[in-house]
Symmetry: C2
Subunit: 212 residues, 2 copies
DNA sequence: TAGATTGTTAATCGATTAACAATC
DNA sequence: TAGATTGTTAATCGATTAACAATC
């Protein structure tokens, strides 16, 4: 059994993937931890430590092969596993997230969008016909998606999550302004956009005061 | 000059605000760090430490007064300063963020939305008429907003940020899948939704492997 | 007063950085 | 080979937790 990887490292992984992908797409073949550290504004030491949680992907005197490192990080992140997701909530946020996220190029597949409002059921989002939430049970039992993206109003979040959990969904991404409390045996990632707005506000006011 | 507050504490502040606001709205008058720790799933010690970076808001033997604590955290976050924001990019994400975020109830004011595409200029978003990006210079010079929300495509992010910086905008919230590198003297908060998706993916695959 | 709970100091734990031998 | 750069150990730094005297 490998050593447990710390949360701080996990949080940084997508950022590594993003930067390495940028390099890959601009045709860079190799990169040293030093050069990457300059670009990412972190220490080279941290990069080497982080990557070594998962294996020795570099070569002394050379650095890291960009293509190889990219595919290794993808593997670590599980992007090669073809995870599938359903989305519940075809309102503004659902539409935007479904439209903006390049699911396929990130290794995921969005396989169904559900809503309970008659006015959106049957409409199209990026080639997906919105289905009736009442039918989600059959759909999930048949297709067995790993994750659910919840873009429903605050009030509905908890009950939808409980329904889906009972159907065997293991992981949730929650966009509503409520915290989906960790349920037994389930993985939750809460996305709170207004938290970012508040952090920004804090930093502005901190700066104003500091400048006095 | 007060002691520098650590990034970890700042990151937790919006979450405190959210939980305290929940309590406030459900009519709770006082809360102890112990009870709050139970609800938030953190240690009571951490709560007391965190709050004490900013002052002694509690009372021995009693706990914290919810209404008072809420307004203190709001003050710390700068939510009482009436910061104003412009948004650039009236596509899906811009529309969604403008529609979903209760700016006013969070102490902010969105004062203008801009785009450069003739097909959206003049359309309405939550009572805002989308203005021509070509006119943003005059607008910013007149209204002096503190922050800008960038919901533009990846390619446009950098140049828009530089324009706005030259106009005096101090803080940016960037939604595009590119990192707005910290510019001299400017505050940046990057929001990367697909990072959350990847973290979720990591956790699912970690769990699968762990269960073997 | 007695009980409760804070504010704060000290102890522990974990994460980051520095350093360097191994090696390509 | 000589130079570069990794992987990894040790040192440092910072954040979290525990403990408790102060006090409402």
């Amino acid at each position: 059994m490998e050593k447990k990887v710390s949360g701080s490292v996990v949080n940084r992984l997508p950022r590594y993937y993003r930067h390495i992908t940028d390099l890959y797409e601009s045709g860079v073949e190799r990169i040293s931890s030093k050069e990457l550290s300059r670009r990412m504004n972190v220490t080279a030491s941290q990069i080497r430590q982080d990557l070594n949680c998962f294996g020795g992907f570099g070569q002394q005197g050379y650095g890291y092969n960009v293509e190889m490192l990219r595919s290794e990080i993808a593997k670590i992140l599980g992007l090669d596993r073809g995870y599938t997701a359903v989305m519940v909530g075809a309102g503004h946020m659902g539409r935007t997230f479904a439209t903006n996220t390049k699911f396929e190029s990130r290794g995921f597949k969005l396989i169904g969008i559900f809503d309970s409002s008659p006015s959106v059921i049957g409409t199209d989002i990026q080639g997906h016909t919105v289905m009736d939430y009442a039918e989600i049970g059959d759909f999930v039992r048949e297709h067995k998606p790993e994750m659910a993206i919840l873009t429903v109003p605050k009030e509905a979040t908890k009950s939808v999550a409980e329904d889906l959990r009972a159907l065997g969904i293991k992981a949730f991404m929650n966009f509503s302004y409520t915290e989906l409390r960790e349920m037994e045996g389930v993985i939750v990632e809460n996305v709170h956009l207004s938290d970012s707005l508040m952090r920004l506000s804090y930093k502005i006011s901190e700066k104003e005061d500091g400048g006095r």
